[in-house]
Amino acid sequence: MAQSITIPAVLAQRRTVNPMTEAATVVEMHNIRKNFAAVQALRGVDLVLHHNEVLGLVGDNAAGKSTLMKVLSGAYIPDEGEILIEGKKVHMTDPLHARRLGIEMVYQDLALANNLDVTSNVFLGREAVSARLGPFSVLDGRRMEQEAQRLLDRLKIDIPSVRLLVERLSGGQRQAVAIARATAFNSKVIIMDEPTAALSVAAISKVLDLVRELKAQGASIIIISHRLEDIYSVSDRLMVMRQGRKVRDSLVVGDIDEFRERVVAYMIGARDDFAAVVN
């Protein structure tokens, strides 16, 4: 009996959103172009990220994936093209602006202050205060520690104490702190730049577990990685870039070998799904 009610409800919902995407979009980037002097780094790239989706972004060096993510995180201003966050057009001026819009970037070098503890890093630049006196506002240390601990617990991150200095943590734990920070303030999109680079095998699997945990909790994530097996194991959809263009955009399906072979063909230019739009 219940089914007869839910099926039309789902159908009704599908009609209200784009039938191609099947879910509300969080990020839409249209025809993004960015030149550095004579170099065309981005030559009209489209990107869509749906709600609660993990999008893998791959490409050879200089394919433009980092540039595209720097545009999305406000570090670069595009020469052309538009960006929509939850359907609203935005013009980001700097990374802080992007962050206020809910776009969080986990940088490859992590951007952590090693001399500070886990709590201070999670709240860096967004400290909780108990008395407001401009720059001399008094820190609410205990509240921040408590919230940081709650955050680590929620994400099942294994760090003995939020009071540990970051310099004492392992590479995987540091990556986890950087990711936790990106999720701490109601972010809409989390961009991870090579989150598994320079980690041990055990640490990589923990970071991938963390990505899955974030997805289970409803996050929308873009991952840049050179490690195709990592992309394969956590992503719903894959986007391949080559020479400043998108050459492939598809769901992650099939077995790993087939997947790898196909992706590499796109990365090296043997195949191209969007060749028609080249100008």
Partner: protein
């Protein structure tokens, strides 16, 4: 947990405690060697007055070092600002109530000028402040060219470096003891113990780790005993000197700002990883301006304390002060790589270095030997620092 185990668990804090232990060892050593002369009230008073201006500079220098810079210009800047104060008081008859804020303002402006070079024009602090060192050396000679050494006759100003805080009139109880100093010491102990206990309770309420009870009591007793001993010795002479009072106020304000406020947290963040701080919305430039501005302010305080202590401004005042302040900061645990250091550590560093000088002076140790001994202590402190930090990571 036995006391021994509790002690062992605290070993990772050895760097913090090591400084205190070393300081106590130096004090005990010189007290025995000088048959108690070192710990006499008169000597402690002299020691504190002679340390105060270096310690004030060291506080500012600690923050500069934390954000990965250095300031070589503060010695001659202090000398110059002291001369400006002396000339204003003596030649232009400016009231002392105007002279002091005027010199403090000039100090801040000088610090901000350094910050323009370092933060805005991106000149390495070492080079920028080396230029400052030359400039203020010249400026000091220039402003004192017409006058030579200026003798300061203003009693209020001279009290800063030589005077003592007032006492309530003798009422028959404890004759010859400075009662206001005793009361302040008592107040300090009460405030320390209550704030420690309240802090511990709150931290426990949040289920965070605290010191084991026996260690906690040892800490309370030790610190209280040290405050009580210092208070008693000072009260037995003429009480707390103005210089010591000023130093205490500077230390309290600065350690509070460094450890408890947003700007303090951001100073450490900029020192630890400037790129990360910037990415997280902290303006490295603003922090640099603030830190050098505060360095200028404290340089003005130090310059006036020094001029007041000598009751004069000379053409060579401030020579080498910057290096003493830098040494104090490094002995106190600041790291050249930035991001690490404590206001209280630097004060302790200044006290250690000054105690060595003072103790050796009392025994008439040759000056050349004194320099070498201080060199050894500086080297050992930094070696110890590097070794404990390497172990930790």
């Amino acid at each position: 947990m036995s006391f021994k185990d509790a002690l062992k668990a605290q070993l990772h804090n050895i760097r913090d405690y090591g400084m205190y232990i070393a300081f106590v060892a130096i004090v005990v050593f010189f007290t025995i060697w000088t048959h108690g002369l070192f710990l006499s009230a008169r000597n402690i008073g002299n020691l504190v007055n002679a340390t105060s201006y270096i310690a004030v500079l060291a506080v500012g220098m600690t923050l500069v070092i934390i954000i990965r810079h250095i300031d070589l210009s503060v010695g001659f800047l202090a000398g110059t600002l002291g001369a400006v104060a002396a000339i204003a008081l003596k030649i232009y008859r400016v009231p002392v109530g105007v002279t002091i804020p005027l010199v403090l303002t000039l100090g801040i402006l000088a610090g901000l000028a350094t910050a323009v070079l370092v933060a805005r024009l991106k000149i390495p602090a070492f080079v920028a402040t080396l230029a400052g060192w030359l400039f203020y050396k010249g400026l000091l000679q220039w402003v004192t060219r017409g006058t030579g050494t200026v003798i300061i006759e203003n009693d209020v100003f001279n009290a800063l470096g030589n005077g003592f805080i007032p006492d309530i009139p003798d009422i028959g109880i404890l004759p010859g003891v400075h009662k206001v100093t005793l009361l302040l010491g008592l107040l300090a102990i009460v405030l320390f113990i209550t704030s420690e206990i309240r802090n511990r309770k709150k931290t426990q309420a949040y289920n965070f780790e605290v010191l084991p009870m026996n260690m906690f009591i040892v800490k309370l007793v030790f610190v209280s005993a040290v405050i009580a001993a210092i208070t008693w010795v000072l009260a037995g002479y003429q009480g707390l000197s103005w210089a010591a009072a000023i130093l205490l106020i500077v230390v309290l304000i600065y350690s509070y700002i460094a450890s408890k406020t947003i700007v303090g947290r951001h100073i450490y963040a900029v020192g630890g990883n400037p790129e990360a701080a910037q990415l997280n919305g902290i303006s490295v430039e603003n922090i640099t301006f603030l830190v050098f501005g505060s360095m200028g302010l404290l340089t003005a305080v130090a310059g006036m304390l020094y001029a007041s202590w000598l009751r004069s401004a000379t053409t060579i005042a401030g020579t080498g002060m910057e290096l003493d302040a830098i040494a104090a900061a490094f002995v106190g645990g600041a790291a050249v790589s930035g991001g690490v250091g404590k206001v209280t550590g630097s004060i302790l560093g200044a006290l250690v270095m000054a105690s060595l000088t003072n103790g050796m002076n009392l025994k008439g140790v040759d000056l050349s030997v004194q320099y070498m001994v201080r060199a050894g202590v500086l080297a050992i402190a930094v070696i110890f620092d590097v070794a404990t930090r390497k172990k930790a990571s």
